[in-house]
Subunit: 363 residues, 4 copies
């Protein structure tokens, strides 16, 4: 509990990494929407492993199946249940119940949570694999939002010691769709190569590396969100912190506000072609929890993949004593490339819920 | 929408800064709890203005009144409605509808949100004043949690350019109640004076200053929270981002993970006196969204108070043109001292909801 | 738990009969609505005691106060908290904790529910008095719905042995506002006098009497509601069964369907002036949980007031043994006249929530 | 919207009668429960068609598949997604979009609801087939409740003109499991044969027939539920009115209260072997929305199956004019036998949610 989320748009997620299937039920999409299947599959492909030398060479045949809510390629307005079979379960890799709990993973906390009855195989419910149906759901929301003029872009703002510029300093009305084509999407040309080197270095040392993803949502009207309790930041962060590996979320200047004076931090309002805009966007498009019409900009801190081949200190649950562990298998030395479409998906889901809430007020 | 929150513990907030009253309804407190009124008032006093030279000298007589749910000093198990009258409304300070929207405030976004019908006076629903009933509600939750052995401590981890050490590097089992007595609670002796100087400097320049609050929750058992969607981080961040001025939230190493390798970031599990602990606590007490029994440590970025006396650029809603504004009145040059009990309250509310959810599983 | 309700329109109720106040917080009303205060007070007056010889002569000065969400007589779009002070608490009538539990009342079940800490005075949270803020909330929803062309009418369809005709057999487009003027609203002229005689007879025997209220909602478009789980019937019945004394709810032919053949029960569809209508309305305006554009007609069974002066058998909680009880005080021999505005209010609240949900689909 | 339900136990339903699959996700079952699969299949078999001459001879191979939440035959504590493939879709029976809307069905209201994009085939989301996963979910809840001593029994209290006695007049502590073995479960011996005759008579006339199901829940402790808004009656009726064909719900004496005096209606409290009981049970085990420890007894009015072979009057959506329709295919002349396990399942789901809510208070 709770595997469900949302007020106007409702999601219910299920599945374990090595169970029969993973999936999500989505309620609240409008009736009659032609599902852009190539686009949905393209988004899922971005999240899938094996896309480049930077990610795990594992293959997942993540073909989503629509069990409900679609007829003749259109949404019916009824809940959509979308499942992905776990074909490559390779359960032979897994023994009889969890024993050596992997540092940085939910093996131990999940064991307590579910009293030892959890499906521990491959991380079970805690596996990053659960984000596959999220990406599919997000693709549907994105498609809907794009018809409204909303665009969501994401880049790697930091990877190890390499830092990219911020969307806050970039042109908001530029076309950022090219970022979707990049394995390591960056705003500063060539920086992706330097980031790739950091990943390769970590991998060669049987290690992994973390970073920061920055996301920008443009085309949002002012007036979405609320002061208490469903601020734009609350709704977005709630979903973002559901993504495994996300350990920090900030909006606009975020933690940078700590060193600022009010006179620097405040975004001056200005008239521009009859519209009210702000000169700077330190607030990240949100004042008092409500969108102000400027791009919503947020960053998510992504921890290094906990699964590393290096030997680590841990405990044996069965023996109740200290032990050592070297995580076997092929794992991502850096999850950021694959996390990009997940963050975008969560943004799309959150914004669609906020948009629908707002729509009630416009009757 | 939505002014309500919670699943096992439910809050419903209401009120505008200069309306009749502000308040909150709390449902889900157990029956029979003797309300520790002095403690509740003490928490509210910490949030109240005028506590020191560092905050606004405005006085608020924030006497909470229990309209329901209490009999003979004990909770009845029925919903508690707690209201605070707005006695010092001083509405003569306010004109006829919002015109010059204050930079950094919700004047503009709120105006769009509520179609110009909002109670704009003093920030209306967006006022920091709304956190007064939150502090009262949090005091009740804290009292309940303390009986379970849970402790919540908070300090100013950064103020302007001055940085304190982290709870992650401090002794988790130390008694931190002394922090509650300090106007600028810090872990490093003497640092509060340097912070105070930063505040005074900002004030003397008719400016304000931001910072970071760090909070630690000890005594939480492992097993609270969930992978999707109600991770410990999701539940906490949802509430924290409802607090005006919070623009970033991170857990454990947070954004520091970005520069880390997995081998550094992972917290090794160890046996200690028969219990499973971690050697470090970069994860901030949460693995895979579920508490692991270590202290939950998180930080909230607090933006500088937007209300400053310095002249700022803005627009006139009525004239539809650029304008200048110097915010009148007495405002906090730094909100952090008063934000401390608010962050603690939100932590208590979030944890109590998670605790109650967990309790269902232990039947 | 749970004292809150609703998805698009949210209510949070609080208060005990003899506590400081009772009230409700309403979130989801549109901004800018001019509150029709005379109308709201008129609705509350219909529910208030002492309206006629048929109800209790107790007086309640139920002046509602808006603590929030209203400015200059208009809704601001922010949550409205509406409270009613309990001025005539007369707590001298009540002893030290509940002892002799009143048959038919929640004295005993509430005692268990709240572990003996409940505010037992005057029924506490279970008192019919809690419906006063519901009527106020319903008046606001009704006002909003009337602008959309929705009308809600209610009459006493049965009182003791006297039965009125059904709305199903009456003209749906007639103006039924005259019913609001009647103490015992009926469709068949003169029947109210016969019903009044039944009430007087019950009263003279220190007894009370039950009945059935029938409600009709006209002007609802087709398409509101859902198959699972928020059918029109589900949403309405959820609220109706919150009303103390309601023990049955049926739609259209309701329990009468039991004796019917399908060929009788089915409502034939017909074209009428370009619109699709049904010839009969056994379904009560709802097919498959979704409104079909015909009047929504439902009935609520109202149990006789449990508070009667006659001596009854009960137990003493304190002594743990059998006892006798004659309920003192002045009570309604028949609650139906006062329940009419409550049922109408619940209908308005339910329909407004359904309407707002529907509005999202019409973007 | 909304296809989800529940606070402590959460259900999310999906699927259309002739789509790929139907199913439900259940969150909130405890970890470690050994799933009694034969029992679950037995419950589903009771709901399946073709059980006797009284129901449709259609065959459905309703093999439920657990996609998640189960490992080695035990619940893991994570959400369970249970799907049933629609193998016998026979979509050749269905043309190109709905045209002649079936009287009594949701063809028309659903068409409006989903703007003509609905999956109309076989009733789509409105099909009684959606109750199959509900029965499976209910079987899991019943299994859990039985370990707590809760028993749920159901019988046909009325079918056409034949009426059975009430549970209110029967021994509450009798073993009623024999009812589960009967096609037309009744309390009065031989009455099922007379009811069967009514069904056969209706069928021979190409017609259908309605009735009333009565359900009794024993073993519930006092103290479940709440006054506002989640009374036992509210929670149960919300789910019951989601069941297609249910048009009325009453508790205890229900609509019979209308003709009663308070002195008759009130259930006298008595001490019995140290426990507090009531002498009669007109309240159906619920006072003021909270269980009082007596059996919870309720009745559901079931309308006659709308699908009848007799020619009926309707309209053509495509032509926009009046038309005639004789529903083809093999349909149940009486849905009551198959509705019994559905009502029991809804009762189990509702009670488990109430039980879990209560468990939080007992910490």
């Amino acid at each position: 509990m709770s595997s469900s989320w949302g007020q106007q748009l409702k999601l219910s997620i299920f599945g374990q990494s090595h169970g029969e299937a993973i999936g999500v039920t989505i309620d609240g999409l409008p009736a009659g929407m032609v599902i852009d299947m190539p686009r949905l599959l393209a988004e899922m492909a971005r999240r899938a492993p094996g896309q480049s030398a930077l990610t795990t060479p594992r293959k997942e045949a993540d073909a989503p199946e629509f069990l409900s809510g679609v007829l003749n390629g259109r949404t019916t307005g009824q809940p959509i249940c979308l499942v992905i079979r776990n074909t490559s379960q390779r359960s032979r890799d897994y023994g009889d119940g969890v024993d050596l709990v992997r540092p940085g993973h939910a093996d131990y906390s999940g064991h307590v949570r579910y009293f030892g009855f959890e499906d521990w195989r491959g991380g079970g419910s805690f596996s990053g694999r659960l984000t596959a149906p999220i990406v599919a759901a997000g693709a549907l929301c994105s498609q809907w939002l794009e018809e409204k003029g909303v665009r969501i872009a994401c880049h790697v703002q930091q990877l190890g010691s390499v830092k990219d510029m911020s969307f806050l300093d970039a042109a908001p009305d530029k076309d950022y769709t090219y970022l979707k084509e990049m394995h390591l999407p960056v705003l500063t040309q060539g920086l992706d190569e330097r980031m790739a080197e950091e990943v390769m270095a970590a991998r060669s040392e049987q290690d992994s590396i973390g970073g920061v993803l920055e996301c920008m949502i443009t085309g949002l009207p002012a007036g979405l969100g609320a002061p208490f309790f469903d601020s734009v930041e609350s709704v977005l962060s709630h979903l973002l912190f559901s993504v495994p590996a996300v350990k920090g979320v900030e909006f606009g200047a975020g933690f940078g506000f700590a060193g600022m004076r009010g006179s620097q931090a405040n975004d001056a309002f200005r008239m521009a072609e009859g519209r009210i805009v702000t000169e700077t966007n330190h607030a990240g498009g949100v004042n008092g929890g409500v969108s102000n019409g400027m791009p919503v900009v947020f960053r998510s801190a992504i921890r290094p993949t906990p699964s590393i081949a290096k030997t680590q200190q841990t405990v044996s649950l069965k023996a109740g004593e200290n032990a050592e562990l070297a995580v076997r298998g092929r794992h991502d030395p850096c999850i950021l490339p694959r996390a990009v479409p997940v963050i975008e998906a969560m943004a799309a889901i959150a914004v669609m819920d906020l948009w629908k809430e707002r729509a009630q007020c416009l009757m």
